[in-house]
Amino acid sequence: MDNKKLNVWDRIRDSDIYFSFIKSPTAIASAIILFIILFCSFFVEFITPYNPFDPSSLSLMDAFTPPSWTEDGVAKFIIGTDGQGRDMLSTILYGSRISLIVGFSAIIFSLVLGVGLGLTAGYFGGKYEMIVMRLTDVQLTVPSILMALLVDGIARGIISREMHDEMAIYVLIFAIGISEWPQFARVSRAATLVEKNKDYVSASTIIGVSNFIIMFKHILPNITRPVLVIGTIGLALAILAESTLSFLGVGVPPTTPSLGTLIRLGNDFLFSGEWWITFFPAIFLVILAFSINLLGDWMRDTLNPKLN
């Protein structure tokens, strides 16, 4: 990236994103779907009258009610209930909130860690840089799901069991976040290396601006675009990783189920005719991940054609 190109970029930044967004029906559609999901998940208390996490509000006699449009359906449970009599729709929305919280937190965690390490590595160089980059190499070869399983396994050993249920969600965030940071670190280091040698940075150093300010004020803005792309795609991966772990039974506890937990629980009823218990959470998860991926794909093409 040379100077001239960067300036051109800077000038059209505001308009080109908007322009290509308007031009891309997939991007608009996926953004709308995402927005609806986000809105419903975070304001679920105001949308549905049920709280599936309060066991005393449930009635076991409501269990296995099929979706409302089928023969035995009941209007108050639009897409039916599960084996405990929980309303599926609200359970899914509450579940997707947990999935989203874990996904977002994990990505923010790895973003902060990755960008922090990448920036400082690129800026200070030397042995420190070597160690950080070696770490990213190692980390990149360790698949996220394995890393997460390991962290979870160790956490189970260290944390007492009483604590584990409460800690589960933090362990999960850490476990997923820790495996996504190298991407961020690589991008931010590369950008830092480019910026570092520019005149304005040298000038700032000479006039005594602190390293911290140079890094965060001057270099950081240059990497927002690739970081945004990586973050979006990473978000889909993180949500899938969370649901996978929960499906395997090492994620969030069944009392506060995420989408993966719901699919695992519903799986037992796949052959008995109560298909809705596993079908709806699964389809919801796929729609969520697919729309994030579509958005990420569009972003990659638009914001950063060079990024693979």
């Binding site: 309060d54 066991p55 005393s56 509000s57 449930l58 009635s59 076991l60 006699m61 269990a63 296995f64 084996g83 405990q84 009599g85 069991r161 009483e162 249920d165 069944p254 009392t255 799986n267 037992d268 009823f269 796949l270 052959f271 008995s272 005719g273 109560e274």
Partner: protein, 520 residues
């Protein structure tokens, strides 16, 4: 004479050859869990015994109708209330060809009494055992024992020589994670021998050609045990024809399996009662929030009892396949009556009042421990209980885990509130009292203690006058029922699903006997 023998041998060889050649058939059997160990004295646990039963035999055994009959012993007699004689079959060989004699029986019973044995309490009344001659065994008991035969039907006979040769003289120490030859190998006198053992994956039983008895269907030559943990996968495997028999078919899938043309479902009440235990001795609950132990008060226990809508559990969770229970024993067991088995009524209002009277108007918090792979829908039952107790203000935190951890931690006294199921292999109430109610008993994890019950247990053990004994049993049941020592839930109904042409008789103790199986 000689010619005759030769002819016999020739005929047998010809017959065996012909039968194995033409109709070698395999039954692929699946269930949720696997045997924990092949050592027949190391773990007294359902699936473990189910596997051992195919390979090992006992002096006496229960037939298809669950009555006690001869197995390795042809007859027996008690010369006085404390001395028994057992006369052994003389044509029994172990699967390695070695003859079974009274030495092996004496060795095995003593082995089951070793400190590492899980059966040592079970046969604690046996005080001495010795060989009178090669095929006669004398067993002495410390006091008259009316249920000795019942107990002996679960003590499997091993080869003394095999155990000596393979350093397996004492049972595997399960609690200390010991690794022994006998835990991964089995060699008995039974109809099958194990030729391949991959725990949790595959166990292959081959017909034991040296077995003394006769198979119902000679074409059944192999049994494969393929445990499948996930219920849906297990059903899928059955429906797609990869599995012939599932001995724990999920209740929710029975309708689906039954409607499939190539499959059939059989159900029978199981000899197992599911219940919840509450530690009523501890001064403070380990997982509570009140600083004391609410379970000490009978009112609290009764409140929990009456807050559980067992009919809803039966209808929704068990899909009708359970029998609500009032005591932890079932029809067919000495001492059972329908009167005792009546439940206290489901009554949320009464439960709330009881709780308030006991001084907990706002309820309390406690953890419920549950296995998730042992009983029919165990975790789902617990989840339902959590919701029902929540309605009277008791906040229950569910902790469900795999059976081996669940049982081990219960034994280590880590549970305030837990689920357990109890079968009665001896078909006598004594078994229940001895393990669940007697002061300090090994599975009395509610720490129930009542001098009258303990005294009644002594009567059950020593009284040969049946009327007096039955009166003691009835009295003991009344006491524990009135005290609400446990919260009984239901008697389990078990369901076996199989291909239509595979016939394995269903048995109330959930133990398949493949020697009675047939394939059409």
């Amino acid at each position: 004479m000689k010619f005759n023998n030769l002819l016999k041998i020739l005929l047998t060889v010809l017959f065996v050859f012909a039968s194995t050649q033409t109709f070698a058939k395999t039954i692929k059997w699946s269930m949720q869990g696997d045997s924990l160990t092949l050592d027949p004295h190391a773990q007294n646990e359902g699936p473990t015994t189910q596997v051992s039963r195919q390979v090992y035999e006992a002096l006496v055994t229960r037939g298809l109708d669950m009555s006690i009959g001869p197995q390795l012993a042809t007859k027996w007699k008690a010369v006085d209330p404390n001395t028994w004689y057992f006369f052994l079959r003389e044509d029994v060989k172990f699967s390695n060809g070695q003859k079974m004699t009274s030495e092996d029986v004496v060795f095995s019973i003593l082995r089951a009494k070793q400190p590492t044995s899980d059966f040592k309490e079970y046969i604690s009344t046996i005080s001495g055992v010795k060989a009178i001659d090669a095929y006669t065994v004398q067993i002495k008991t410390s006091k008259p024992n009316p249920i000795l035969l019942n107990q002996l039907s679960n003590i499997f006979i091993m080869s003394k020589k095999w155990c000596h040769d393979n350093f397996a003289i004492v049972p595997q120490n399960w609690d200390a994670s010991q690794e022994t030859f006998s835990a991964v190998n089995a060699m008995g006198t039974g109809p099958f021998k194990i030729t391949l053992r991959e725990p949790n994956t595959k166990t292959v039983f081959k017909k034991n050609s040296k077995w003394w008895g006769e198979m119902k269907d000679k074409s059944v030559t192999e049994i494969h045990l393929l445990p499948i943990k996930n219920a849906a996968t297990r059903v899928a495997a059955l429906l797609s024809g990869e599995i012939d028999l599932v001995t724990d078919a999920p209740v929710q899938d029975l309708a689906r399996i039954g409607s499939s043309s190539g499959h059939k479902v059989e159900s029978t009440p199981q000899m197992r009662t599911i219940f919840l235990g509450m530690d009523q001795a501890a001064d403070k609950l380990r997982t509570g929030n009140t600083g004391d132990n609410p379970f000490k008060k009978k009112e609290v226990r009764q409140a929990l009892y009456q807050a559980i809508d067992i009919e809803a559990i039966k209808k929704k969770v068990m899909r009708g396949l359970s029998e609500p229970a009032g005591i932890i024993t079932f029809p067919g067991v000495t001492g059972y009556t329908t009167e005792l088995d009546k439940r206290l009524p489901y009554d949320v209002g009464a439960a709330k009042k009881l709780l308030a009277d006991a001084g907990y108007p706002n309820g309390f918090e406690v953890e419920l421990r549950c296995p998730n792979d042992r009983y029919v829908n165990d975790e789902a039952i617990c989840t339902a209980v959590v919701g029902m107790l929540g309605k009277i203000g008791v906040k229950v935190n569910l902790f469900a885990q795999t059976k081996s951890k669940h049982f081990k931690e219960l034994k280590d006294n880590q549970g305030d509130f837990y689920m357990l199921g109890w079968g009665v292999p001896t078909l006598d109430s004594h078994y229940v009292f001895h393990y669940l109610y007697e002061t300090g008993a090994s599975w009395n994890k509610v720490n129930f203690s009542n001098a009258d019950v303990d005294a009644a247990i002594r009567v059950m053990e020593g009284e040969v006058d049946l009327d007096k004994r039955n009166a003691a049993i009835a009295n003991a049941w009344k006491i524990v029922r009135d005290n609400i020592a446990y919260l009984p839930l239901h008697h389990q109904v078990i369901s076996w699903a199989s291909k239509s042409n595979v016939d394995v008789p269903i048995r109330p103790n959930n133990e398949p006997l493949f020697r009675f199986s047939s394939i059409n």
